[in-house]
């Protein structure tokens, strides 16, 4: 209880509250501008959080991302352009509602069910993370090895529809993680005699490059002129929300649950949660024919899903140091910089910090109602800001931010190269998320594999000997072999015929 009181003290002080308020405004703005994503908001925020104490640093990231995922709904409804990829799943639906003169309903449902889904995700995080940490305290390198493998597996099989390309992306990430001295033999790998590369590729400049610079390049290449669908002042966006809640409680619960689970799975985040939720909502709806014509049911379900995914993603990030999505991949980097190394010991040694993170999560969700409403009212002004004015400033911010992490221009080099890499990967259909996961988890994979191998004396069966390790290992192998098995099963009757 002492820790909880300390945590409240850590959060409720003017400085932290100011940080929360500022990052909320920042998140709402970035999320509402099409082309600027929640992950980009996080990556750009890191150089600033670098100079803060742990709790405000994490508070800034948590608040900004929650707000950005909601405000991505605003341009979806008004311009048919999702503000962040997480809103893409139901952008057509929201825009169709607006065209029917029901912009308030689309925006209100986006806001209210984002908050409800977000709170659901946070509650699961609060219950599940300490319980999981309890179990994880007993984990050895075998369990961690399989967890990392499971992370890669889910990133490849869930996050994309093309396993081959997902796999390639992950391997590119692993290759990037090979650079430097940090390996079992302590030998320099791919440093090409460059002293800056000895410490490895710095994660934050890499992320800034992959998520912000790539976006600036994409903007330079393809510019769309959006058309605003409403030209009248908004009415009350909260009208009719209670009726919606009473009409779609199951949809809310289903969306939030799926979102939390997808968020917790490594490599898949809010955007995939929204796509899957929207599809499920349509599948089980009593009125599936209305989907796509401006029907609010899908917005309720997937709007809740993408915000609940945020809380879910923090579960593996805090407990195992395995990011649940690209945002937590960056957040893990921040935790390490702040000496809040993720893992079960964090719950034992620094419970007040964990509780503080939980409190920030709840505060952010509650703040979303008034601030989100204000953002909706200001939407037309925000959306009139020309992106051509923002992009150069963002680029300068990227450059200075990449420099500031280690105070070296080499960070800017990493940023530029990563930006080009991510730009082409995206263009050629290779997902970026598995690459990030490969970079973040590469060192962990190698370390746990080697210590497991030493413990196992070079044998492979001890990898399956402990019950949890065995179960995780079996699960990984099953997922990998399933497509093959299914193909063989399908072919077998053909051959006999």
């Amino acid at each position: 209880m002492d820790a909880l009181a300390t945590a409240f003290g850590l959060v409720f002080q003017p400085y932290v509250l100011l940080v929360i308020l500022l990052s909320a405004t920042y998140g709402l703005f970035v999320g509402a501008i099409p082309g600027l994503t929640a992950t980009m908001a996080t990556a750009l925020l890191v150089p600033v959080t670098f100079f803060m104490a742990p709790v405000p640093a994490v508070a800034a990231i948590v608040t900004a991302t929650a707000m950005a995922i909601f405000s991505g709904d605003i341009p979806s409804a008004l311009l048919r352009m999702p503000g962040t990829p997480a809103s893409a799943a139901y952008a057509d639906e929201a825009y169709a509602l607006t065209r029917k003169g029901q912009a308030e309903l689309a925006l209100g449902a986006g806001l209210v069910f984002s908050v409800l889904g977000g709170i659901f995700g946070v509650l699961v995080l609060i219950v599940a993370a300490p319980a999981l940490a309890e179990v994880a305290l007993k984990f050895s390198s075998f369990e961690y090895f399989w967890l990392v493998m499971l992370g890669f597996t889910s990133a490849i099989f869930i996050a994309g529809n093309d396993v081959l390309k997902g796999c390639t992306s992950m391997l590119i990430g692993l290759l990037i993680s090979c650079v430097g001295l940090e390996n079992p033999a302590g030998a320099p790998r791919y440093t090409f005699g460059n002293a800056e590369l000895m410490g490895g590729i710095s994660l934050i400049p890499l992320m800034i490059g992959m998520f912000a610079v790539a976006e600036v390049l994409r903007f330079a290449l393809a510019r769309e002129k959006p058309v605003m669908a409403v030209d009248r002042p908004f009415g009350n966006v909260f009208a009719g929300m209670w009726a919606l809640l009473k009409k779609y409680p199951l949809q809310l619960l289903r969306g939030s649950t799926l979102g939390t689970v997808i968020g917790a799975l490594p490599g898949a985040g809010a955007d995939i949660a929204a796509w899957m939720s929207y599809a499920i909502s349509k599948r089980f709806s009593k009125e599936p024919h209305k989907f796509g014509t401006g029907h609010v049911e899908g917005i309720v379900e997937s709007g809740a899903a993408n915000n609940s995914a945020l809380g879910g993603a923090w579960i593996p990030a805090l407990v195992f140091g395995i990011p649940g999505d690209s945002i937590t991949a960056i957040a893990i980097g921040v935790l390490y910089m702040k000496n809040m190394n993720p893992g079960p010991m964090l719950f034992v040694e620094n419970p007040q910090n964990i509780y503080a993170v939980f409190i920030v999560f709840i505060v952010a969700q509650l703040l979303m109602l008034p601030l989100g409403w204000m953002a909706i009212l200001a939407a037309k002004r925000i959306l009139r800001v020309p992106a051509a004015l923002l992009m150069p400033l963002i680029l300068l911010f990227c450059i200075v931010g990449s420099f500031a992490i280690n105070n070296t221009l080499f960070g800017v080099v990493i940023m530029g190269v990563a930006g080009v890499l991510a730009f082409f990967m995206e263009r050629w259909g290779f997902p970026v998320a598995p690459t990030i996961l490969g970079v973040v988890l590469g060192t962990m994979l190698e370390e746990h594999f080697f210590s497991s191998l030493v413990k196992a004396d070079g044998q492979l069966w001890p990898f399956f000997e402990r019950p949890i390790a065995g179960a995780l290992g079996a699960l990984v192998l099953l997922i990998w072999l399933w497509p093959l098995a299914r193909r063989l099963l399908r072919r077998a009757p053909l051959r006999s015929a």
Binding site: L171, L175, A185, L221, L389, M391, V400
Partner: protein, 154 residues
């Protein structure tokens, strides 16, 4: 997409070969059979398989649905992207020599103009943006942005 997949597949296979070749030279952990070369070898093998898989797939003409269709960017747009990269390169090359307060507005101005922002707002925002970033990072966050040819003012 097929042609792109084919080329990317070949490039990946070549990269994989280079990784596998380089991995031979990495030392092993004393007393162990494996060492620093293990992960690169694993990655190299994986990339080789993925690269060959992409080549085979595109030769067999399997059409995979890709969300990003090859969009038709004009040469002017491609030049814009290249100019933005050149601006980043110019910053890297000249930041220490010229100093942040000189190179940053030039870079900003270049990118504004590349994105077809008019001269007046471009100059205004280039100067204002530089000042803002300088104040935020140098003053507030104490990031040692280089002064270059300018004498340190404070």
């Amino acid at each position: 997409m097929r042609a792109v997949d084919l080329r990317v597949g070949v490039a990946l296979a070549l990269l994989a070969a280079a990784v596998l070749w380089s991995a031979q030279a990495f030392p092993v952990v004393p007393g162990q059979q494996l060492g620093a070369g293990f992960l690169p070898k694993l990655v190299g093998t994986g990339l080789l398989l993925c690269g060959l898989g992409l080549v085979l797939r595109s030769l067999r003409g399997v059409a995979y649905d890709d969300p990003v269709a090859a969009s038709s960017s004009s040469w002017r747009d491609i030049a814009s992207a290249l100019l933005i990269l050149a601006t980043i390169a110019a910053y890297i090359a000249l930041a220490d020599k010229l100093g942040f307060l000189l190179i940053a507005p030039l870079c900003l101005l270049a990118v504004f103009r590349v994105l077809r922002v008019g001269w007046a707002p471009a100059i205004g925002f280039a100067l204002g943006g530089t000042l803002l970033v300088h104040l935020a990072f140098y003053k507030l966050l104490r990031v040692p942005l280089p002064w270059g040819v300018l004498p340190p003012l404070y």
